[in-house]
Amino acid sequence: MPFFEFITPLFLLLIVGGTFVGVIFGAIPGMTATMAVAVCLPLTYPLGLENGLALLLGLYVGGISGGLVPAILLNIPGTPSSITTTFDGYPMTQKGEGEKALKIGICASFAGGIISLIALYLFAPALADFAIRFSYVEKFLIILFALSVMGALSTNMLIGIFSGFLGIFISLIGTYDISSGGNGKHRLIPSGLEYWLDSGFSLLPVLIGIFGLSAILQQAEAGMPPGLSRDKVRIGKSSKFSFSIFKGQVLNVIRSSGIGTFVGILPGVGGSAASILAYTNAKTFSKNPENFGKGEPAGIIASESGNNGLTGGALVPLLSLGIPGDSTTALLIGAFTLQGIQVGPLFIGNNPETWTAMIFAMLIANIVMFVMMFYAIRYVALIVTIPKHILFPIILMMCVIGAYTINYGIMFDVWTLLIFGLFGWLALKIRLEIAPFIIGFILGPSAEIYFVKSLESFGDLSIFFTKSWIAVLLWFLILGSIAGSAFISSKAREAE
């Protein structure tokens, strides 16, 4: 078996260790898979290529998966791509179904990871060829499709959409980023604040500020009510997890994993869009969309299989075009060049052994992640029973680490935490809607660049309708999603 020479005890140990560390990074609010990979990248130089990749891919899979833990238990997305997991995960925790929600999320993550891995293994070069048919126009429509979920997530349609646009507006503050195609000029910065705001607000600190810090402020305002205590919650007792939850969700799992994989393949569209799109779709196609946002397992399934579907997808352009599909795979390029290996369209053909090793590493990492998390989770779920006066200061401290290190040591990111913690608190008081706001904030910069570049390149507004059959298809999906959310909101009004 000359092909499997790379499977050594060290190889396996590195995957297990990598996955474990990855899960921890993912689970800490503000620490991401990208960060985990960045931190461990220098370690891979002495390890050699296959072993180094084993470690990094373990970190990647673990990091993406770990994000569901704080999302479900604390309502703080551990990574941006688990944002939609909070929508249904946290309501379940509040109902005392935290462990069940976690297990649903873990199973969905596993399914997403495996499905996208299969797609990667079987179709990598073909998928890459398809992905390059997506120009600025199609990418803009994909983002628009993801944005169309804003309406569906709002309780009050008008205010929800306003909040979403406000999110986009605030995401534009700073510089029109040169490295994504902008002209590098400042805009929307109040004069005198250029020194602080020239790079705008970073996504992660905004996210953990709005979700983490503002929750602590609300609790402080309410005088720290003694919340979920051990006897009150009785995790997992009220409603047990069983695999039968997934009955009737097969289509959802496959669709969401497919969306995740596909978004991963498109360079630049970004990881968070994957779970948002999967969630939008699940809601649109669901028989009871009104349950979404109130603790619907299908929402968790969509979100988590979507964001783990990303893992295999993002490797497609990396290995068949030499172009990273997301920020984490961008770091993998560094690992390859450290070893003097070129990535590009010839990579798979030139390095069949490395390619096989990567597929195996991903497969094992997914299995390890599943086993590790599924059986350890009932202890992790006890986090919510830690007394608040101990838990909250420590969460805040972890948020500080996450914010400070996300851009490798920028203090303004820590202040961003406080600014958006206050904003989140205030938003609740004036009934702005946080979910659409955050989605607008996440997708705003991509929406801008693809919209402006489409017009700049083609010089015609009609291009959005006439570019290709893909564009037309995307318009149908967008309209379907908007009609869906209008239908839901009218149904909700009737119910009132």
């Binding site: 960045a38 990248l41 220098p42 060829d129 390059i132 120009s135 600025y136 510089t175 980023d177 040169i178 490295s179 994504s180 195609g181 902008g182 002209n183 590098g184 000029k185 400042h186 020194y195 020239d198 790079s199 360079p267 630049g268 352009p317 075009l321 030499g322 172009i323 990273p324 961008a330 770091l331 993998l332 390029i333 560094g334 690992a335 060049t337 450290l338 003097g340 070129q342 990535v343 590009g344 369209p345 010839l346 990579f347 851009n407 490798y408 040591g409 920028i410 660049i449 570049k453 700049e456 390149s457």
Partner: protein, 348 residues
Amino acid sequence: MTFTRRIILSFAAATVLSASSYVAVAQELPRNVRLVIGSKSTGGDTYQNSAIVAEALAEKLGINVKVDAVGATEAFKALNRDSRGTTLMIFHDQSYLGNLYGVQGYANPFEGYKIGPTVAINPGNAYLVPKSSKYQSMDDIFAAAKAGEKVRVAIQPGGVSEIGFSAMKNAAKVLSPGSEANIVAVNTGSQSDKNQTMWDDLADVINGSIQANEQFTQLPDDDRKAMRFVWITARPATLAQAPAQGMGNTTRDQMLKFADPETNVPLNGSENFTFDKEFFILYNQGMDDAIVQQIDTALTEIYAAGDIQKRQKEAFFIPNFLPSGEALAHLQAKRSTYEQVIKDITSN
């Protein structure tokens, strides 16, 4: 409560103690150094280069050096804040090109900062055309511009990616005044965006690199992704130091065909334009000269030992050590050449 008060007090005491001991040794690099870089990517060439240098320096001087990928504007801010040598910066020609192109957030590094030694070159900056393109060489491109044909070049504006484009415009002007108007920029972002503009038929020529684009040049002719080099901007002397086997399936000799003097992009009547992406260290303006000296000495010894060159060549970098004095003169001369090019093509 007294328990914690005592802790706080002892912290305060420790603060005073170590702060005073710290001041006494300010003439050399502190034990913990932060090396900020002008790129936000920890997978890119700036990071790799800096990591190699940081590791060598740390080992040589017995200190800790952490590389932080904070990006250009934040790196300059961090460098400004501290003159004790706790923060150093590594960046490349972008640092002054950004300023020459008037990008917001770029000050002139020769005025606000001390220039340290150069450490390496990335010789990979290149321009490519689709494999099926009718342009076989740069000569064809300039001829087309002269004949009134628009040649669209995809670049990321405002720096290293644009300088080659500016040189093309300048060359067109030298060869046939007025024809530079036919060389137009397609402003885009990352390498994947630049490739995509080619595949979307929005650009005829794209900026790229040997490292990122070589494999595309090896694709079969009927693959729509296939590309061809037309110009490698490196100086011939730089490229000659690259490993003979080159990169991928392109040997060094094949690369040299796309560089000066075999490929002509005139700077003026007599010389060709060349561009090497050189990495160098920057210091806070007020940093003690003793530290500058310390780093120069350490790097001189490191390069004399020869191990760092091996690491650099493995990663397709060309070792390029110039102590701070020489580096300053060299980079200033380079800057004024490019300043002239940019001035010439903008003033008609």
